[in-house]
Symmetry: C2
Subunit: 551 residues, 2 copies
């Protein structure tokens, strides 16, 4: 299997262009039909595959980190008659179920990161739709804060997945239509069952787009709208960005090594053991000094490395169904970095890094692998890194020390980062989600912030699932991990997708929970993926054959 | 295919017994192993199939309508060592995907109706668990307001679906564990992956049950708790119930006829046309007179008939993917009945009927068939019946009259029933769901209550999807219905499951949306249902074989 590499940079892009005009950037889709990630399909009409989305994700990240001066981003197409035709159908028809699901998940995350940039980095995305925005093309458009449609009697928005392909606009489309655009449900029904979509005034009336612009005013109006949004931004006009240099890593058959993240791949046991190293030094003197460190600033380093490691494992190591998280280092120093970030949230870069850590933790939350945190002597599950224990399906903690080990006993240290900095997709913190049934525990935990909580104290507070001492640790952990690895991967995916997201639902959790689950179901059904199904027959001239039973 | 009949009564029960002790009823599970709905499996250990659940639903309904004096219901088992072993595995292994999905949906609805009785009829369910409550058995227990577990070192609660069967506790289980019992997510993870479950004090500590009772005090404590809950009820101690006599209906190959509901089955077009007739007479003088009419009281009549028709279509007519709703009668008279019900909500039976109508409308909402309301001359889409138009995926309205037709032009009439009496599963009304993006419209509509809104007025208010006059009606409707029937049934199911439930999520919508979708996905996967999958191999002594790829 070809290794999918998520690392790229603008000079390597085949499908996107970035142009800059002061506080406005243009993110221009111009997909190279011959640039597919795999063989066997052409990316015609700005249709996309995972490779196109990897570049988009990279561009969105770079706009945030490398371009503090940019307050608005115009998403548009370089092609005359098409904005974007959505996910490439031949690619979908040939993909395994697992690839389709993981591709859609990454696409969802990238689209949510566009909304996160708009909301939290004040880098507002606008979308300028000229030509057809069909399926995933409209799904992409609707991530923007403001959608402009040219009134040329041809350009339209549509979600033709159902009539054409027997699947759903399942990568955020349906949910954004109802939850974000708040389109009336019967009009949404018409919209989603009408192959040709909607154009002109009706698109505005149905709230599918925000603004209709005559061709004569198109360029000028798009530019002026972008400037308006850029002016509202609080991003610094004259700051320098941080170059996201190429992430250094070494991947061998049984390990992945980054500077502060290493992953041991235990193939025969079907698990990947991830260890994150705490900061080697105290935080720098101030935000300027932190920025001078660039990608070597510890919080940014681990955000990037963990992000890449999770993505790599998802797409390239599907059989490693179990992730363990360990940390090593000085917990107090992790808290010092958290405090440093918290104290400097008015600095654009420190804000960016906090949101990047937030997104990376969310990526862990929606990763369909069982996750076990192993909290051992010498570890530093403190503040930001303690979130990994709360993101895990279970956290198991070592009580006391191992004979002959002079490192500090296992401890959890709570800090402000655990009480608000990193909301989950459901809008509340991992501790709030954990303690839905006993909210008073959150306050009890919060007053212990900064303390070194040993295994017994952590268990008493409900922060860990179980505690073992040296006598039992090895056997208990071995049995637990072996048992977990013996279960059906599918049922674990379903279990975790439900238990991890207790509590409130948001547009984000509805996308990953409800919509994705229905799409995954359909992605298994012969009506879509069978030999006579719509995804396989699309473009062949043959009509699909459907099993007419309603389920 | 054997026709599944949802009509039953206590004298026909094979699996349940009802006992009455003043204000306390006992609903006792005693499944007849040889009483399966289909051949090929034995219902051992109080395991259940759809037939068992049909009786349970009937019992829950009768307790509400026939027993106003009952304020508390104790759910228990007649078998010594088992409370309930959950859904029968051999039945699941042999069932079609469609049957499994529809069986689970009905089970979900019945369980929600138990919670509805507790919350809204003040008939509180308690559960007395002696023996094992495993899988669906615990899912059933957790519908109760108060769960008592006997502390006999053997009795336990468990959700062993994942380790034993490679599926989920997917019929409300996971969602109730997190949302209702608010079990900590990591403990829920342990609970759901531990075959033998949890017993004794730990079950209370983890919030899986409410109370642990020593064997010596068991009968007395269960009885006293039930009396306590019964005493808190506002149900009348001395009222007479309404006998739910056997529903009269005639089903032929192309029609289903009830007294006020008729269904035309157009098999070649794959649709069922449902027509509901409005009340023939004005409402009775008072609640006592209404009660004297019994099941002939129009609102109760249509609730029962529509309920039965929908269930029949779901289980027995899976290829009829499209339902049309028509009404005929006098809209003003429908509103008069609504007003009558609203004015008499302090009468236990009028309250029951309102909640039954609510549940029946919810049953429509979660029915996975496309639903089109056709609002034509002579119809009475008013108040309660107008909810059918708002429950539909689309509502199409006739403008003006047909030549030679002297009935009143099509009209919608709004009334108080449309603004609060019938919340959807998401906790808000169908109009609130419809107008999420324009809440002001709800007030605009509400001030028009009681008016005869013609097609143009209804369209202006956004109450209907489209309007056609006599010139276009026949062709437009034909094309729309033919097109709908041509789409992939699966993608329509997914589309409708998303678009119908815009807005807030509740435990109920999370059960039907998120959990059900994941379970349906797993119900397609070879790891569960393949020849070597866990559902097929259960009980054979052979281990299942799993595809180890994580999706």
């Amino acid at each position: 299997m070809k290794t999918i590499d998520f690392r790229t940079e603008p000079s390597q892009y085949r499908h996107w262009k970035l142009e800059f005009d002061g506080p406005v950037a243009h993110l221009i889709m111009d997909v190279d039909p011959n640039g597919g990630l795999f063989e066997g399909y052409e990316l015609k009409l700005n249709s996309y595959d995972l490779g196109v989305d990897i570049e988009l994700y990279d561009a969105v990240q770079r706009l945030r980190f490398e371009h503090p001066e940019v307050g608005a981003v115009v998403l548009r197409s370089a092609k005359e008659s098409v904005f974007c035709a959505g996910a490439n159908i031949r690619m979908l028809g040939k993909s395994t179920h697992g690839h389709k699901v993981n591709f859609c998940k990454f696409t969802n995350e990238t689209r949510l990161s566009i909304e996160d940039a708009t909301e939290n980095s004040r880098q507002t995305y606008l979308c300028a739709v000229r030509g057809t925005a069909a399926g995933g093309g409209y799904e992409l458009a609707v991530t923007a804060e403001h959608i402009m449609l040219i009134d040329d009697r041809k350009s339209s928005v549509s979600l033709p997945e159902l009539p054409l392909l027997a699947v759903l606009p399942g990568t955020g489309g349906l949910t954004r239509v109802t939850d974000k655009r708040k389109v009336r449900r019967d009009l949404a029904d018409v919209f989603c069952t009408t192959e040709e979509g909607v154009r002109g005034k009706r698109a505005v009336q149905w709230r599918l787009v925000d603004e209709l612009i005559p061709p004569s005013a198109w360029h000028e109006k798009v530019a002026s709208r972008a400037r308006e949004f850029a002016e509202k931004s609080d991003r610094p006009k004259d700051a320098q960005g941080v170059a996201l240099d190429r992430l250094a890593r070494e991947i061998t058959d049984n390990a992945m090594a980054y500077s502060h993240v290493r992953v041991e791949l235990e193939r025969e046991k079907r698990r990947a053991n991830i260890t994150i190293t705490g900061p080697a030094e105290a935080p720098p003197a101030d935000a300027a000094a932190a920025q001078a460190l660039g990608t070597k600033f510890w919080p940014l380093t681990i955000a990037r490395e963990l992000d890449d490691a999770i993505l790599h494992l998802r797409l390239n190591e599907p059989e490693l169904g179990l992730l363990t998280f360990r940390t090593e280092g000085d917990g107090a120093r992790v808290l010092a970095y958290d405090d440093f970030l918290a104290a400097n949230q008015t600095h654009w870069l420190m804000r960016e890094i906090t949101h990047y850590l937030k997104r990376t933790l969310k990526r862990v939350d929606v990763t369909s692998r069982s996750i076990i945190a192993l909290i051992e002597p010498g570890s530093c599950f403190a503040g930001t890194l303690a979130e990994l224990a709360f993101a895990a399906d279970r956290a198991v903690m070592f009580s006391g020390s191992r004979a002959g080990d002079n490192r500090a006993p296992a401890a959890i240290m709570l800090g402000a980062a655990n009480f608000g900095a990193y909301p989950m997709g459901n809008g509340i913190t991992r501790l709030q989600t954990r303690f839905l049934g006993e909210p008073a525990t959150i306050e009890k935990a919060q007053v212990r912030s900064g303390e070194t909580l040993d295994a017994e104290a952590a268990a008493e507070l409900g922060l860990v699932t179980s505690v073992f001492d040296e006598t039992d640790w090895n056997d208990e952990i071995r049995i637990m991990l072996e048992e977990r690895a013996s279960f059906s991967p599918d049922s674990l995916t379903g279990l975790e997708a439900n238990l991890r997201f207790a509590g409130p639902e948001t547009m984000e959790t509805r996308i990953f929970g409800r919509l994705t689950a229905w799409q995954n179901w359909i992605f298994q059904r012969p009506n879509a993926v069978g030999e006579d199904g719509a995804l396989k027959r699309y473009g062949t001239g043959q009509q699909p054959t459907y099993d007419r039973n309603r389920v």
